[in-house]
């Protein structure tokens, strides 16, 4: 009897001990999170500001290799979020991955729009700030050609830039989670229905769209996400990697920035209501955005469960451009996990580096 009971008793004790250890870790980590004063370090890859104007900064990341690809790559960030999502933390940074792979990396960070930036329009970004940044990249590298990598709305800006500058020396274009067909924007499309949504009244009243309003509208797309993320955190409090990842993503999600008012008005009127980018009727600074004029290689990365830039909205991108060298890649996951996190580390980043390496000599 004793010999058969003993192993079960030992198993019970071991299992209990393991649960006690985990719960002790949970309590400790929980307290650390509750009392945390120090924020997790993000966006720390060494870089220099080589050009700035207003809130915009053009960063040049310090190369990690003695030999880099001839063509530099310029990351263009979205207007509605902070750029460090692409440079989270060591081992979790898209920028660092590209540096390790031997690319010369630049990034356009639009900064946090100030009240005086209310009047900024797509024209200011696409026909003024972006060309100026590319000039600086050319000066810094001595190379005429450059690759553009746009994330979310950054990809839209890149498409607009390419569409009005058919002769620009763009070597390659990479778009990640970039919506082009606004009819596929799901709830955003419904909520901005022109019968009920008075965009003029909103922008004329508030100027820049407040970050809180932006955050709430993103959260409403998945109303239960916040609650369930707390449950998952509780479940994984014993795991330091999970907690660190959670804290970083929590910080990023909650650091929403305002949307420049006039750009938002243009976004709703020209894109959400008229779908001008898809229809080929969009004009920037009096020039038609002709996506068929984009003849260089285009890589389109999409997420299957993207709730912000849904798959339906991002899928047509490569069919709109005039390039014959195009590649579409669809990964499981959402808007953020496409470019950051396990999914991105193991799948998107290596694929981008490989695709781009072959086209950057």
């Amino acid at each position: 009897m004793t010999t058969t009971r003993q192993p079960y008793a030992r198993q019970f004790v071991e299992a209990a001990q393991s649960q006690i250890d985990r719960n002790r870790e949970r309590a400790k980590k929980g307290l650390e999170i509750l009392l945390a004063r120090e924020e997790p370090p993000v966006g720390i890859t060494p870089k220099d500001v080589i050009y700035s104007r207003g809130t915009m900064r053009l960063y040049h990341y310090r190369p990690w290799t003695d030999e880099v690809y001839r063509v530099p790559v310029v990351f263009i960030m979205s207007l509605v979020s902070k750029p460090w999502i692409l440079d989270l933390t060591s081992g979790q940074s898209f920028v660092q991955h590209m540096l390790q792979e031997g690319f010369d990396v630049f990034m356009v960070d639009w900064g946090i729009p100030r009240p005086e930036d209310t009047n900024l329009r797509f024209e200011d970004y696409v026909d003024d700030l972006m060309p100026r940044c590319f000039e600086e990249v050319q000066k810094a590298t001595g190379e005429e050609e450059y690759t553009i990598l746009g994330y979310c709305m950054g990809g839209m800006l890149a498409l607009m830039y390419g569409g009005i500058n058919p002769d620009a020396p763009i070597k390659n274009l990479i778009c990640a989670a970039t919506p082009v067909d606004m009819d596929g924007m799901g709830l955003f499309k419904t909520w901005t229905d022109k019968r009920y949504f008075d965009i003029d009244r909103l922008v004329d009243s508030v100027g820049n769209i407040p970050p809180d309003l932006m955050l709430r509208s993103f959260e409403m797309l998945r109303p239960s996400d916040r609650l369930f993320s707390y449950v998952r955190l509780l479940d994984n409090l014993w795991d330091p990697m999970f907690v660190m990842g959670y804290r970083i993503m929590y910080k990023w999600t909650n650091e929403q920035i305002p949307f420049p008012g006039e750009t938002y008005r243009q976004f709703v009127r020209d894109l959400m209501w008229e779908n001008k980018l898809l229809n080929g009727t969009m004009d920037i600074a009096g020039k038609r955005v002709d996506l068929k004029a984009i003849k260089y290689p285009v890589f389109n990365a999409m997420a299957e469960h993207d709730h912000i830039a849904p798959y339906k909205a991002t899928r047509p991108l490569t069919s709109l451009v005039g390039s014959e060298d195009t590649e579409d890649i669809t990964l499981k996951g959402g808007h953020v996990s496409l470019v950051a996190g396990k999914n991105a580390v193991g799948r998107l980043w290596p694929r981008v580096a490989e695709w781009l390496g072959e086209r950057s000599v």
Binding site: P7, R53, P63, D104, P115, V206, R222, E354, E358, V361
Partner: protein, 136 residues
């Protein structure tokens, strides 16, 4: 004993796995339910009305605040915006001056001050596929 341990571990894993699956499924269903509700015409109308109310409230608040701030001789929102505009003009002029100084310095053969521009890696890297087959 190994079997016994394996059974306990696997039973624990099963419970955890079931709990996580339930969590994911519940989350999907809750989101799906709310998305259906929020995707209706009626919700759009309500949201539109809310935004109208929000806009009116913001405008009234701003105007009221401006009057109070003027009374107490404090800078208003528009004063700060104007100040920001002037600072931005100064900022842009400084950037132009810096750029011009850099050009002058380069022409005079002086080292530019930006540290990154001193790092000049060779731009001759080739992709792995081309390194393996130099002939291609």
């Amino acid at each position: 004993m190994a079997d016994g341990n394996g059974r306990t571990e696997s039973a624990n894993a099963d419970v955890a796995e079931t709990w996580r699956n339930w969590l994911t499924e519940t989350e999907r269903q809750v989101n799906g339910f709310f998305n259906e509700v929020m995707g209706t015409d009626a919700f759009s109308r309500v949201a539109g009305n809310y935004m109208d109310g929000y806009s009116v409230m913001q405008r009234t608040l701003n105007q009221g605040m401006e009057r109070y701030l003027n009374t107490f001789n404090l800078p208003t929102h528009s004063d700060i915006v104007e100040l920001g505009d002037r600072l931005r003009t100064i900022d842009e002029r400084l950037t132009t001056i810096e750029g011009n100084l850099r050009t002058v310095a380069e022409k005079a053969g002086l080292e530019p001050s930006a540290s990154v521009t001193q790092l000049k890696p060779k731009r001759t890297r080739r992709p792995k596929s081309q390194k393996k087959n130099p002939a291609s």
